[in-house]
Amino acid sequence: MNEITNILETLDYGPAPENTDLVRAWLERHDGRFGHFIDGAFRPSGGTFDVFEPATGRHLASVTQGTSADVDDAVRAARAAQPGWAALSGHDRARHLYALARHVQKHARFLSVLESLDNGKPIRESRDIDIPLVARHFYHHAGWAELLEDEFPSARPVGVCGQIIPWNFPLLMLAWKVAPALAAGNTVVLKPAEYTPLTALAFAELAADCGLPAGVLNIVTGDGSTGAAIVGHGDIDKIAFTGSTEVGRIIRRQTAGTGKFLTLELGGKSPFIVFADADLDAAVEGVVDAIWFNQGQVCCAGARILVAEAVAERFETRLKARMKTLRIGDPLDKCTDVGAIVHPVQLDRIRKLVSQGAREGAVLHQTDAPEGCFFPPTLAVGVEPASTLAREEIFGPVATLTEFRTPEDAVALANNTKYGLAASVWSENVNLCLDIAAQVKAGVVWVNCTNIFDAGAGFGGYRESGYGREGGREGMMAYLSHPEPKASGTEPEVPAPQAAPGGGAAGAGIDRTAKLYIGGKQVRPDSGYAYAVAGGGHAGLGNRKDIRNAVEAAAKASAWGAATGHNRAQILYYLAENLSARAAEFEARLRAAGSGVEAARGEVEMSVRRCFWYAAQADKFDGAVHQTKSAHVTLAMNEPVGVVGIACPTSVPLLGFVSTVLPAIAMGNCVIAVPSQLHPLSATDLYQVIETSDVPAGVVNIVTGMRDELAKTLAQHDGVDGIWYFGSAAGRKMVEAESTGNLKQTWTEEDAARNWMSAEGQGRRFLHRATQVKNIWVPYGE
């Protein structure tokens, strides 16, 4: 027997190593040491930390730990470069982005090998998925740069962007962050993950090679403290972060009240739903692509397999059989399916969670894995929704298997998570697929596929998976600002409400008592107190229990989000009709609150017009069909945020309420509104109009009382998906900081900033705030 005859017996694959010589030579050329890339040049390396090859534990390079002084330098360079970069024509910026795309392509294999060495991911993935997507992202955004003025008239760059990216797709996440930022005319300070900084540094070298102006892209390496210095920097206009929900929360808290733009792409625990009529072989292969892709270190990994009881046994058998042919080992071998875990710290985390899951009763099926920083592909069966393995993001090659009975059951299980990044739905029935896609709370839904990405589609989550989108038109919007009204500097005085007798407030005619409006009913405030309103009358002093009840009522009314736009439009028109019929009454109320005759008439008239405008928009604020891959329809659907709390503007009590509540409900949200604290009675008068206009119970809830106290309860409430706050600087900071519990979407603005009587008081920007984009991928072909 010789070599060939031996192989003829076994027909093994044999080794197929990717050559790493060129990459190692590049590391040597840099003496294995890297400084930051600031203002177009590499700085000398400073105090360094070591970067290892996870598959072997070999030392790869020493990289500089960024200090706050380094971050200062980088921000200064970015700030200095930003006006010039933004002043370039879109075409000129497009040329730069095009050059970056070309350079990535020209050095694709180099970058792939470097990525696999540094991260431990199989060369197949870096070569066939990561790096081609990087190039695609720069090409796509070269296009946005070219078209910016045409496609986003009146939009401006945000300024200097601080970007912090994770270690799971090091260069791809850089591309997702850098390409839209630069296309929009921003400059960047980016910190790659400390485990995997090398491709970012190589990219910086490429950028310098292809003539990107100095200061436009700055790379500062380091650990979490460097990231914190970026987040806390006073001269950064936007923070974009991809990483854990835990760190996302810290960033949200740290940026609260600073006015920084913020987008977060955080964790997930995505469901992978297999119906009985699915192509089971396809779904099994889908699991491979979902959770054994990149060692499961994927934020959108389909980690929770939910399978119909009718086919569960067959599915499990096939999945286990498929696991046996997975090859785990050397990431640089072309036959490797599953490579190394990025770092022993991560391996340790995976091990701990899995052994905890086993202690809780999960039965583990695992393949073999080599010694070292590897974790075997794992299928955990007997996992109930209450199990740790079903709730915690493991970020490892571990899938759970849970059975469901009916489509309703599947949706309930799928949505039984704090996350909402992605979902995968497997069925040959298009009705079922799209029904489930609509019901799953996730920013990305893949039908009969999984982990498909393209620069032309938006990616990002619902719930605690973050906010903002990357890719496509919606991704560009995250790097553009629009002329927003400036704060006047003078906050309207909002005196503490007087809830004891002696406040005066006697009005003419029969004494009327304004109540709260919750779940379609007028209810007394839980506190039992009312406060005197200037100009006459009393309003209920709502408290946290009233907010609790209102949120409950709003959540129950969620069918509103599924009503047709036409249906919602009809109701908003009806609202206008009824408001108009009682115009005199509302004018009188406004005059009592201190408005002049003309001003009061104008405010009511404008409120009626606003009803019309949002009624008109209700069935017109369309989504899009993105151009992505061939034989795929990628639907970008505008969905309501959900339950939205609104602390309304103080100054125009009727118009402020109407201008904020209407865009929210026009898009299908259910609202808990806290009316102007000073003049709440215009809003409470409205509940009769709301009732007579067929607005379903719970869609609009009104809780009067102390704005900031109620806003705080709303911000803290985990059942509230978004909060809009018009108030004081302190209140804005409070709302943003308190929103971190469930990372709800926030929109805060100085109370008096906006002239609600002008065009500023309405527009598509309001509708964008009221919606989130769900991208649904539907491949086709028979």
């Binding site: 005859t5 192989i7 076994t10 044999g14 066939d128 192509d279 072989d281 396809a282 596929c449 072909g781």
Partner: protein, 342 residues
């Protein structure tokens, strides 16, 4: 899927079991077939997009290099049905082909690969019925089976009795394997019993010769049709299922092959029978030879990389394989003029 099928089938298998002629090298117990069971394929979901994705990544997930690649290519030769099915075929042309089948690789390659003393031949030679006789004569003593197409190849639109007569003729001429074509109309009309009866009758006409059922997947178009036709052919007793005649607009593709091997896996799971797979048509390169072997190994395992369960129906692929092996042995790129033509 058909949990009750196995014990009954095993019993039936025992009663029908018979060994095939030694010359074919088949050691498998033959697929005895079973009654038509539409529930084994009707409503079976096949998602084309997913099948295409899997097919596209099969060859990017696996790579066979150097000595392993050489061995895999030698194995492809062993599994090859070296084929000529042209209107201008003559006895002399077939003799040439048979000579190549006996020694598919140049002696210096055999030596360079360390295979001296081992008999490396193609899996079979595949010809038209009237050329079986010269093929049998040319291959005498080689142990290489002769496969004949039959049943009105390639369209199959001839009266059934004539098609069955053609099978019997080819078998009488000495064919060890008969590559039949199915009536596409039966598939397109989902007339499964007509399809079943046809293949079963052909199987009977084959006698001891093995039946390879050509599904002409390029005509069937949908992967659901391919799955169903595969299953019916196996239920009717096909020893092999084969993709194409080589004459359809689209011949062997990886997605179609994927669906067929999954069908034969499912049939095997239900009955215990091992059915072979033969992609044919359109595969011209050594790279194709590796791709289809990767498919077999990944989806079915090592056993399906041997000629009793796997054949590559090809005519020009061998020349490319030989060129690649030349490069492996000598380190130089080869010119085809230096290798004997078929």
């Amino acid at each position: 899927m058909v949990a009750d099928a196995k014990p009954r089938r095993a019993e039936e298998a025992a009663s029908h079991a018979h060994q095939v002629p030694a010359r074919t090298g088949h050691t498998q117990r033959r697929n005895t077939g079973m009654p038509l069971r539409p529930e084994m394929f009707e409503g079976h979901a096949v998602n084309r997009s997913a099948a295409e994705r899997r097919a596209a990544t099969l060859t990017t997930r696996r790579s066979v290099k150097k000595a392993h690649q050489a061995a895999w290519l030698v194995n492809a030769v062993r599994c090859m049905d070296l084929t000529t099915l042209a209107g201008d075929d003559t006895a002399a042309r077939v003799r040439r082909l048979c000579a190549k089948a006996r020694s598919p690789l140049a002696p210096h390659l055999i030596e360079g690969l360390g295979l001296s003393g081992r008999s490396i031949t193609t899996g079979a030679v595949c010809v038209y019925p009237t050329l079986v006789e010269p093929a049998v004569r040319a291959l005498e003593g080689s142990g290489i089976p002769v496969a004949s197409v039959a049943t009105g190849f390639p369209a199959g639109l001839m009266p059934l009795d004539l098609r069955l007569a053609e099978i019997r003729y080819a078998v009488e001429q000495g064919a060890d394997e008969i590559d039949i074509v199915v009536t596409r109309e039966h598939v397109l009309r989902h007339d499964w019993s007509a399809l079943y009866d046809e293949v079963a009758a052909m199987r009977e006409a084959c006698g001891k010769a093995h039946l390879k059922a050509i599904l002409a997947t390029g005509d069937l178009r949908t992967l659901r049709n391919v799955y169903a036709a595969s299953m019916v052919a196996m239920q009717a007793g096909a020893d092999f299922i084969k993709t194409s005649t080589g004459k359809e607009g689209v011949n062997a593709t990886l997605p179609v092959s994927l669906v067929m091997v999954r069908a034969l896996r499912d049939y095997g799971d239900a009955t215990g029978h091992r059915v072979g797979f033969k992609p044919a048509g359109g595969m011209k390169s050594a790279k194709d030879a590796l791709a289809w072997q990767i498919l077999m190994k990944e989806e079915l395992g090592r056993d399906w990389l041997a000629p009793d369960l796997f054949r590559l129906g090809a005519s020009s692929m061998l020349a490319d394989i030989e060129r690649q092996l030349e490069h492996h042995v000598t380190g130089r790129y080869a010119a085809s003029s230096r290798h004997a033509m078929a």
